[in-house]
Symmetry: C2
Subunit: 388 residues, 2 copies
């Protein structure tokens, strides 16, 4: 197990009607003038928009809106948000939605204190110093952005999608009410589950020896996703299923599974190129890439981890041969994603051979990706190809 410094400062208000804590929490963190960041019309349809507006008005918290955040949030939205904050002397940012709205809000909070273009922060040209306080109300179980300090922002001008973390961007609090996810469509429920499982899998398969506890916790989160995603698809209003998926989304990526292990991931950087070039749904890209990646990295050095995965997550019989178990587990993974209605090939999301080489180069422009089994340009290209 590697050394680690643990700090997960975000307070969580989990459960039905926890929105009752909103105004007090905004005040707790010195908020008096709020930027209200959200995506499309879903929060209006479910009545959450009206509820938030009523709370802010009742508690004399003037607010300005930044609406229409895209599924892959763009640097343009961040710039726009910072402008509103400066113009209206905003001192608190509230993101209501899924990972996109939260990620966008995060870079707004940090970019507010940086004079030049916020994209500089993402490309390492400028340093994070401080940030406006951020609160979130989650409406989609997927990215875990509600409890970590990462932000993923796209710049379509430069064909870049960059994910970067900094402690100043961690939300001060997040309100997780599973009933807000009842209206999430099947496609997003499935893609969100693939995202949660991918975060967990990235942390699970590891080159670090002896982080046994973390691996057992990861298995628990994977089993939770496998158990509840089909229930949530069949019964969108099942509180238990929505609650377990929501809490899984936060714990998969808040550090619990990665503390003590490496932090260099594999499928995410590969998928980021797909989204950057084709603007596909992140979770769908992960569901497509994960099984071929597993097959590609399966070898004598990794087979025992795949065996653990098969036995502890998929309930396979430990008596069988390790490679047989590993291959069965990979098939189970792909079949599970397909059973959720997720695509299993790139062609299904209209991606052909045309940009595979360019994307493989882009994914590895800073060197090999992943630490479990480092992937060079050629490896990424091979995985993309076998995912066609």
């Amino acid at each position: 197990m590697r050394n680690f410094n643990y700090s997960i400062p975000t307070a969580i208000f989990f459960g039905k009607d926890q929105i009752g804590a909103l105004s007090e929490q905004i005040r707790n963190f010195g908020g008096s003038r709020v930027l209200f960041v959200y995506g499309g019309g879903s929060i209006k349809q479910m009545g959450l928009y009206d509820q938030v507006v009523a709370i802010l008005k009742t508690h004399d918290l003037p607010f300005w809106e930044l609406a229409g955040i895209d599924p892959n949030p763009r640097i343009e939205s961040v710039r726009q948000g910072i402008e509103i904050c400066r113009k209206h002397k905003v001192d608190f940012v509230l993101a209501v939605g899924g990972g996109s709205s939260i990620d966008c809000a995060k870079l707004i909070t940090a970019g507010f204190y940086y004079e030049s273009d916020p994209w500089d922060l993402m490309i390492g040209k400028a340093k994070f110093v401080k940030a406006l306080p951020l609160g979130t109300i989650l409406t989609l179980s997927a990215t875990g952005s509600e409890m970590d300090n990462f932000s993923v922002i796209s710049n379509f001008q430069t064909h870049q999608k960059i994910g970067l973390g900094n402690p100043v961007m961690a939300p001060k609090f997040s309100i997780l009410d599973p009933t807000y996810t009842y209206s999430v469509p099947k496609k997003q429920t499935a893609a969100g589950t693939a995202d949660i499982m991918s975060h967990t899998i990235e942390n699970y398969f590891t080159a670090v020896k002896g982080a046994y506890l973390q691996s057992r916790l990861a298995e628990g989160i994977l089993k939770t996703c496998i158990h509840y995603a089909p229930i949530a698809l069949a019964n969108p209003d099942n509180y238990e299923a929505r609650a377990n998926l929501m809490w899984a989304s936060s714990l998969a990526i808040n550090g619990l599974l990665s503390y003590g292990k490496e932090r260099k991931w594999s499928c995410h950087p590969m998928e980021h190129e797909l989204s950057a070039y084709y603007d596909i749904t992140h979770g769908e890209g992960l569901a497509i890439l994960t099984p071929p990646w597993m097959e590609y990295v399966l070898n004598d050095a990794t087979v025992e981890q795949f065996k653990d995965y098969g036995v502890n997550v998929w309930g396979l019989n430990p008596g069988e041969d390790s490679y047989a178990l590993a291959r069965q587990a990979i098939v189970k993974t792909q079949e599970f994603f397909m059973s959720l209605g997720l695509p299993s090939t790139l062609r299904e999301v209209m991606i052909g051979e045309e940009n595979l080489k360019i994307m493989a180069k882009a994914a590895t422009k800073d060197g090999a990706i992943g630490e479990f089994r480092p992937l060079h340009t050629e490896d990424v290209y091979n995985i993309y190809k076998s995912a066609l």
Copy 2:
């Protein structure tokens, strides 16, 4: 799953040589004059005492010592510590040791701001308002006190051992270096493991429906203890084993496993009476009581949870009858504790029938204990008796 408010504010510095963070962290939390709380000679034998003293001296942090904290820390030590803090204008408390030193330090930090006797805080006669900042350096994997806000203090005058939590008592930071536990004797290593497992088991068996994720995480922690305790006993210097047990001790009781479930426990309140009357080792008492408690609460309403326990934790064959699996799992539990050299009967720790009725009454003086299957005086007495 029940609603919950998650807040685990303690920062953790985990791994070899993390003591390097000590002086900076004390300063971070405004410390300039330190009360140094510790137990017996073990921290001197391993050189940790000298190391701490050198760091405090090098960084101009004057300190006063409160040594000799007992395994079941006493209210007298707390009173003494508060007196030293007041006399020398101490503004930071540093506990170095296991749960006893940390628990004692916690009540010192809160009692400092309460004018009258600190025992008033434990019996609910006075309210917690604020506390001095607390840092800890852990040398025993067991109580999890390094990452929660609970303190357990004994008052032998009144035959009371009371555990109570309050947010003000949460450590600001804890340094967890597994090498500090290399010198922990076999008996304490075994008892500490029983304590970690008991915390996990108290959170695992639950009357709350649908906290599935939390139960799967608990299974991961139990498997970690079962895997590594024998290794730590056979090879006390095995870093991997000590690291996994240490991190398990913190995660078993910091809230991760209990958020969303009930918080009323069963074996702990029963064991507290044993320690209060006989001053036995807490973990030994838990190892003795847990299997008979399991047998006592096994019934049609609980058998499926015991089946999960048998299959997911002990690797039993899921095809068998639920009751058969449950009973096998209970036997496995007892055999495991015995394999660690722990006692399995009260008589082995010199407890006879003489006080069983009095202790059963004391354990239930505020009503039935436990929410999984509520235990009244008669139930506790029966469990004590079957543990003889």
